[in-house]
Symmetry: none
DNA sequence: CATGAATGAGCTTTCATTCAT
DNA sequence: AATGAATGAAAGCTCATTCAT
């Protein structure tokens, strides 16, 4: 299970500011969840840096103070959401495993793109915030690297496993893999967050085509 | 002249907080430039949101007050730098014009990638800040859209002008063009800002290969 | 009830900077009051323009931030105090209603003057600040006009209701009424704020005499 | 000569910040005057506290720095204007000297009121600023006291010189004199600065009537 | 568990005044 | 005599976080 693996690597459970483990009753769990949902919603509306703790608690219908019962600071909510999102991405990366070479693979890629896009749409506020957290912030930096590495690892592995036909300009598999992920992530950002007007079908087809070509159509030199 | 055109569309010259045009003497121009340089440097070191106006003035060796003589707030410095950067990018986009199909075109692309990367490296703090300005900020949003549109326009035009050979999965030229730009921009970010360890040659070769393939190797359906 | 009417016309209750109504608990109400008292005290000592928000909080024994929990800026404290004061003045104006013609009226006026002076003394820092708020400030301007109109209205009404004996130079009742108020207000300022050395009895007697004469002793031509 | 007397009592000529006497050439004198005129104009438009040194120099068409060549700070311009105004008022006070008892005196008063009002209108921004300078400021405080004393002195002297007929409530001549001045000054403020809508004739008649009555119609007890 | 009042560090900004040219 | 760039003290204000109830 990718998910379990992820859980192990990533930071878990709520911890109090004072470092003491916090055990949540049922009600507490519900309040915590309300705060997370509210945060996600507000992050989408106003962006993470623009969001005030008050916006979150107002949306969640809790008191201001309650927030600090569940999270030791604002970044921790984002982290919790980012971890959730990262786990989904791990799953997605795993689904990339069995992609095949020919027409069937192309169809697999299309359906995978659908999944990715759904996921991005659902979690864009978190991704955006997380990605634009300053690189200095070790917490988010590590998370980002891990997810990227996971994706890129799967892809570059497949590229390398592919018999190169020598007809094309050879690529570096590592670079190409990261480039494909970068392309997909950033395209979704332009399209879904900044709002460029493309038809979903065109996007799915084109992404799948470029990926397919990038993965199976290239020779590689490493 | 693309550059002139760009200059015309984009916002020019320094304006005072009170909206009155400020005419700068030689000394003033020098101080203003010192502040811009300092800002760029500090944005790189601490990131834009983390940068305090005082960090900039300290770096520039001016007083706090001098800053507000030339800019009405922190965002305005970023804007000035972003406009500079956008103009460079317009120039770069223009250089994309004469790219050819075959091996010669591939070499052209490689050298173009070198330019792009140099430029990105030089201006990354600005690009990062600008790109992560919240989409709500009309000022930066418009600038971003314009640059993206310029790049994507050139590329999609070339894609459409290319005889499709029907062998590959057809792509939507508009989507593909934005995707290629997204890829390049984001890859540079991962590589140069977040720090992935790739060799520059590999990057240039691989980017050029994927672009070449993306532009000339695909059939398109629109 | 004049007072109720006043309350209705004038701006009520504390409002937060973000425009949202703030409901104050008992503790909050106490803190707010402490701030108002402190402000009045400091306004007297250093004058309104010379007062810093920090002076107020220091006097009130609260933090700087607490101030902005209850008022959105310095002017708003003054406004709150001015409204309080205006309400007192409305009450005073109402007391002017039953003043009679003869000797009894003179005594009534004397006792009324006592009230006015007490009131002025108590609230002088507020009145001074309020009156010297620049006329452009609609907030204070309106309040001032309302109070003046109320006073002048009562007085001019009585002047007009008085049988003129034709012996004296006729006056315009509106002008005379405003003039009497102006006289009283400004005299109190010279005397109580700038510090002229008059005996309280002399002041009360003289003011009452001039008012009595001004109200009942003049013929009017309108 | 009242004017000479005034000149002697009041603070004279421009002095440099460093305390050295400044001798102005013809051009300098002209610039200084331009600054004074500009200041008066701007004080009227924006009020003294709201006026920035830049507003004055902009209006005068000089450089920012030039201001400090002629005045050592902002208050000094106001002071210079206030002294000018005070001198006019001294002259006015002197004109009060020969006022007579009967109908002729009433006409004299009316024409005097015209003068006063013209003067107030011309100098209102200065008077307002000066009067609302914080009482702590010795400079303006003294000037104000002197002018008030001069006016009140003339009036109370006449009141005391008048045979009291015993019919009216006796007044304290000192209080009454200050009260009449206060009335006039403050009425003009309400009327000319805050803008109450009275006809000039009504004002002149009514003011003259109240003063006439106040001066000649009262018995006094001191 | 929950509340919301209180805190205070830290930011942006203004503008009277000084100073080098 | 004039210029206008530079200074820096001091203000107003925000908001993440803490704390008493």
């Amino acid at each position: 299970m990718a998910k379990t693996a992820a859980k192990r690597q990533l930071k878990p459970a709520p911890v109090r500011a004072d470092g003491q483990q916090r055990v949540l009753g049922e009600q507490g769990e519900r309040t915590r969840q309300r705060l997370l949902d509210a945060a996600k919603k507000v992050f989408r509306e106003r962006s993470y840096p623009e969001t005030r703790v008050d916006d979150i608690t107002r949306e969640a219908g809790t008191s201001h103070g309650a927030f600090y019962l569940y999270f030791s600071n604002k970044a921790e909510v984002l982290e919790a959401l980012a971890i959730e999102t990262a786990e989904r991405m791990y799953t997605l990366a795993d689904e990339l495993e069995g992609i095949e070479r020919g027409e069937a693979g192309f169809d697999q890629l299309k359906s995978w793109m659908e999944h990715f896009i759904d996921n991005y749409e659902e979690n864009s506020p978190v991704v955006v915030a997380w990605m634009s957290a300053r690189p200095q912030d070790a917490r988010f930096d590590r998370l980002g690297r891990e997810v990227l590495a996971k994706f890129a690892g799967r892809i570059s592995h497949t590229i390398r496993a592919t018999e190169s036909d020598g007809e094309r300009h050879p690529v570096n598999a590592g670079v190409a893999a990261v480039a494909l992920v970068a392309m997909l992530e950033r395209f979704c950002y332009y399209w879904l967050v900044r709002g460029g007007g493309f038809a979903r079908d065109d996007v799915v087809d084109t992404m799948a085509a470029i990926w397919h070509q990038g993965i199976f159509g290239a020779s590689h030199k490493d």
